[in-house]
Subunit: 227 residues, 2 copies
Amino acid sequence: MEEEEGEVKLFRTWSSPFALRIVWALKLKGIEYDTVYEDLANKSSSLLEYNPIHKKVPVLVHGGKPIAESLVILEYIDEIWNQNPLLPQDPYQRALARFWAKFGDDKVWESMKKVFMKEGKLKEEGIEEAKENLKHLEEELKAGGKRFFGGEVIGFVDVALGWLANLPSVLEEVIGLSLITQQTFPLLSKWTHEFANAPIINQHWPPKQQLVTKFKAMHQIFMNKQA
Amino acid sequence: MEEEEGEVKLFRTWSSPFALRIVWALKLKGIEYDTVYEDLANKSSSLLEYNPIHKKVPVLVHGGKPIAESLVILEYIDEIWNQNPLLPQDPYQRALARFWAKFGDDKVWESMKKVFMKEGKLKEEGIEEAKENLKHLEEELKAGGKRFFGGEVIGFVDVALGWLANLPSVLEEVIGLSLITQQTFPLLSKWTHEFANAPIINQHWPPKQQLVTKFKAMHQIFMNKQA
């Protein structure tokens, strides 16, 4: 395939969980690529040129052509490089995978953000929403009866939800709240360990203490805004 | 294909723009299906069973298996029935189509909702955001130089953005604001007319006066909440 000849470049930050999805996908498929680390306080002209709409990471540039939005990039990677497929082959199973990945972004991520960024009543609402959303994931794992959302190997949904395998533990250190435990969500808790420690995945986590420091500073800013 | 034998059923409301995407896609592909009209104030037990997470329309049920989330359903339909493809064949063009469809939901729709639901400063913010987002669509049409976002025929992005071809004119009657005109966004304005009047699309619009009545009532509720 001609595209396979093209240079692959990933614009990321050291901490973006959305960029991490792309790192995992490329590594799982064994694709060589160059990394450009962005400082979001001082974005490169290349990033602004490649993602003029959102001006965010990740951006994947393949043979000079840029793609933004991490779930869109994942689909692209899966279509271009067929080895170790992320999405299932069956159209119905593919639809379910896309559904859960979207659920992760629209609902789980948004509720967690509310927990982290808000105070008082809004934070309490966020906690209830997060628990409700995590319950759906727990039930999905139960229904599947497999190690991963994707079955016996890591798939699209696992990569999309991968941030759940480390950010909640960072959240715990910053705001003292444990959302995913063996008691509350046993299968999801088991999944976070299995996923976090799986080959390839386990080599690419950002340093936890560095994340805690960053999120503590961010949390302080949000709290000051509401004070 | 075995799936082609399965019964196709669409759960929708008469007015949902997201459900309309599925109507268009099925009709463009010439798929026979049954329609179940839902009253969202009194949801059927089938809807709650088929979409327990979001409890929303549209839901497509194919051979007894339910799929929720309109963009996910569109991908499924395109994978199951190959005729009149919605997504392009080329992986990079597919990625761009998915990017713009997501942009439509995450940015354009959200900014329009803000215009419609908010008052004062928030509404003004919404108007600025909506204009900025529509400008991106205008530029995309200009770059493509074609009748539709999908080229010379209606594609994935056209179907996803189809609500732009009627809801802004409803908005105009309800809150007296014209966002897409020949003066402000000439190509987008032309596209709304081309799309709205295209064969198949033009047969399935909900009655405009009925939409105006519905949106007027909704708008009143939002305004009362903020009063």
